[in-house]
């Protein structure tokens, strides 16, 4: 247990110390939120869909949590490179505990990031249907971070170096984001896009946040949370397996 705690703490300390990184990682969501939110606002309104800022804010929070948690898992590559991975791997601690500590740390950091974006959204005019729903939205952030931190660990354990990083970014992370319905409603597409968006686990996370924050959603919030937890559990087992097989 102490090993899990100390590795969780390590992730938080590293996060707190990289202030420039914190600010940099908030830049992209702010750009999406402000430029798209206000830029496409009038078109969205004319289409009779209401405020685009309201609609896109949960999507941008989901995006932030996605990026931040998947990168925390891929951070294994940095640990491998700077050697700290060896220090963890030879320690007399079950690898499962090491993986859990790291993953919990990554999840905590990405939920903090998500909450920062939520605060920014509130400042620029986003309003939830009820303030009492905010804790449930944070629960959804946690579920999203579980899925993608576990996926990140699975990928980070399998890659040897940074060369695969661009590939992962372009063919996995970006599609997950674009297909999640973060920027467009999930209803009324042709069947290829419909299938793709239903396979993407992030769709359910963002749908769930829309359900609690806006009071309207495509799926039911119960289905959303169930999908996230199931996918998260499977990926966690897979990630733990890949992590236990690392050789240096």
């Amino acid at each position: 247990m102490r090993a899990i705690y100390i590795l969780w703490l390590r992730e938080l300390k590293r996060y707190a110390r990289s202030r420039s990184q914190v600010i940099a990682s908030l830049g992209q969501p702010m750009l999406y939120l402000l430029v798209l939110g206000f830029g496409l606002g009038s078109v969205f309104q004319k289409a009779g869909m209401g405020s685009y800022l309201q609609f896109i804010a949960p999507g941008i929070i989901g995006m932030t949590v996605l990026f931040s948690s998947i990168f925390s898992g891929l951070g294994l590559l940095w640990d491998r490179q700077f050697g700290f991975l060896k220090e963890m791997l030879v320690a007399p601690v079950p690898r499962l505990e090491i993986m859990i500590g790291r993953t919990l740390g990554g999840m905590t950091v990405s939920v903090i990031q998500g909450m920062l974006v939520l605060v920014i959204a509130l400042i620029v005019g986003f309003r939830p249907v009820s303030w009492w729903h905010l804790p449930i939205a944070i629960g959804f952030m946690l579920a999203i971070s579980l899925v993608f931190a576990a996926l990140g660990v699975a990928i980070g354990s399998s890659l040897q170096d940074m060369q695969g990083f661009q590939l992962i970014m372009n063919f996995l992370v970006m599609p997950i984001y674009f297909l999640s319905g973060a920027m467009f409603p999930l209803a009324g597409q042709g069947w290829p896009l419909k299938i793709a968006t239903r396979i993407d686990p992030l769709s359910y996370g963002i749908d769930g946040m829309r359900a609690v924050l806006l009071g309207s959603s495509t799926f039911s919030p119960v289905l959303d949370i169930a999908v996230l937890i199931c996918v998260g559990a499977v990926l966690l087992v897979f990630g733990a397996y890949r992590f236990s097989k690392i050789e240096i």
């Binding site: 100390i6 590559l77 490179q81 060896k86 220090e87 030879v90 050789e247």
Partner: protein, 264 residues
């Protein structure tokens, strides 16, 4: 304490360690010598559960590091050849994580951290981030960290690389101290033959993945008819210079230097 039989490790067509057998008794200091790329680090990685052997058997204090990984890991401590510190954390925090991972009780951890950081002259800088340290200071911190818990077996993979003579002297004095006082078995590699001659009880020489000879420093010198271990080593392994091809890790380091701008 360490029993290795017919150990083989191949990477594709390349055989890094080729049928190596040796044993190290409890309380012994064993130096594993060889030119670059001879298979020293690969052997240490297999002994310390970081790499699976292709074939052959290993016993650490009677335990099989392949099957009883965690029990085996409890037996040893290791100072790696290349860096293994977290640069974003301070020296004290690096020591703390190590202590917690190795189950050193809180009180002992604090006390030994202070002793060791003072011994290796890092105590004044304990609250500074490690990435601000010079190469020599990082090296000293890695060594101090390796001594934080008291293992039954201590692996030192080229521990003196990049150390000044003062720190080197400090290191070997400390190694001898824990070896004598606590009967810690030491398995070390080094390129400095005088160090091996001075510290090691027994020596094994490896070249091209094969164990060329083993014995006490005196035996090896007599065997080759030379007066110094350096000459004996050159006679056994030849005078051609070896090149190691850059590993993917090295290439990745280069890449990171280009892009991270010293972020970590």
């Amino acid at each position: 304490m360490i029993e290795v039989r017919n150990l083989v490790k191949t990477f594709g067509a390349f055989t890094a360690v080729n049928d190596v057998s040796f044993s190290v008794a409890e309380g012994e200091i064993f130096a594993f010598l060889g030119p670059n790329g001879a298979g020293k680090t690969t052997t240490i990685k297999m002994l310390t559960t970081l790499l699976h052997p292709t074939s052959g058997s290993i016993r650490l204090d009677g335990l099989d590091p392949l099957k009883q990984q965690n029990e085996a890991r409890k037996k040893f401590g290791i100072v790696f050849q290349d860096p293994s510190l977290d640069g974003d954390l301070t020296a004290a925090e690096n020591m703390e994580i190590h202590g917690v991972l190795y189950g050193v009780p809180h009180k002992v951890r604090r006390q030994r951290t202070e002793e060791l950081l003072k011994l290796f002259e890092l105590w004044d800088r304990r609250d500074e981030q490690v990435k601000k340290f010079s190469g020599g200071m990082k090296r000293r911190l890695e060594i101090a960290r390796g001594f934080l818990h008291t293992p039954r077996i201590l692996f030192l993979d080229e521990p003196t690389l990049g150390l000044d003579p003062q720190s080197r002297n400090q290191l070997w004095t400390h190694v001898k101290k824990v070896n004598e006082a606590e009967k810690v078995t030491v398995f070390l590699t080094t390129h400095y033959m005088d160090e091996a001659d001075r510290v090691a009880h027994r020596i094994g020489v490896i070249d091209h993945g094969k164990l060329v000879t083993q014995g006490t420093p005196t035996e090896i010198k007599e065997q080759t008819g030379t007066t110094t271990l350096e000459d004996a080593f050159l006679k056994l392994t030849g005078e051609t210079i070896r090149d190691e091809s850059a590993s993917s890790t090295d290439m990745m380091r280069q890449f990171a230097k280009m892009w991270s701008g010293g972020k970590r």
